[in-house]
Symmetry: C2
């Protein structure tokens, strides 16, 4: 179906008797800007499904290409059987607004609280409000602005992970007037 | 928030008195595999919002990098003022299962029928069932398998369009055993 899509490490648990866990999700997206919300689609048989359903919290950790192997591995093994933080060597760190841990190594951590869940069939769609965002200092430029081009992000298309490639343009480039250059 | 995300041309209208229209959407995602469903988030003040709300149909046209300028332009002008098919030079072609036109030039066309719409705040989330998929012959390999790497897909991250870059691995690569090579 739709490609390319984001591929993220969702962390959850570490509270209410649940182990901290990581699940790789390719079916995630922004869905609203006010309030800021995103969605993730999770199969009910996944270990993280019960955790998120019970605790109502998760963190979307956006990985860089440095974490591609860990991202892949968290998508093929189950948190029922293994400790995914230990297995990947990724570092759990406390969330600011939610109780579950985030992944220190990921350049972008989006803390979410579930507002609604919809049973669609094979997947449950969790619609969640973004309650905090943490950004690694490496992806902020000298003026304090977010520069995601420094983050080394990756995308997922039809079963394959890709780095982002060459820059094609900025939003609005098709209507921007060229600045006249003065001669010196 | 979440990056990178897909960037698609959504076509709608051409029925029930509505003009055919195109809207660029970056907030789209797969949400269910059985039944196959995807979601798009659209602001209520957009011209396409009323069209999709009234007709219950749209097509997600996944553009290649060849259509980056058209994709950008359809995101900055309104279908209230201009005919976007005429303005971009893109070719409308009939959908197979829905009545609105698809974009001929896009390598992947996903025909959708709205099953549910949710008013989240600034955006309405349309949850739609995929009722047909059309794939351009250039992205199918000699064995008849879909090869999206041939499609020249692009992603959108924090206001910038990017081509997909180098291949990082296939889903499951982190646990795949290397095949032993026999000596000859």
């Amino acid at each position: 179906m739709l490609s390319p899509v984001p591929v993220v490490l969702v962390s959850c648990g570490g509270i209410k008797g649940w182990k901290a866990n990581l699940i790789t999700i390719a079916w995630a997206g922004n869905v609203c800007s006010d309030p800021p919300m995103l969605s993730i689609a999770v199969r009910p048989d996944r270990y993280s499904h019960a955790i998120i359903k019970t605790t109502g919290e998760f963190i979307v950790n956006v990985p860089s290409t440095d974490q591609v192997k860990a991202t892949d591995w968290c998508g093929v093994v189950s948190g029922r059987d293994v400790d995914k933080f230990a297995g990947t060597g990724l570092t759990p760190a406390p969330g600011r607004k939610v109780a579950c841990p985030m992944v220190m190594e990921c350049p972008l951590n989006i803390e979410c609280r579930v507002r609604k869940s919809l049973e669609l069939g094979s997947h449950t769609l969790f619609l969640a409000e973004v309650v905090a965002v943490q950004v690694s200092s490496e992806v902020v430029d000298a003026r304090g602005r977010l520069n995601l081009q420094k983050a080394g992000l990756m995308a997922f298309a039809h079963g394959h992970y890709f780095a982002l490639g060459h820059h094609l343009g900025h939003f609005g480039f098709s209507v921007r007037k060229r600045k006249k250059r003065g001669r010196t």
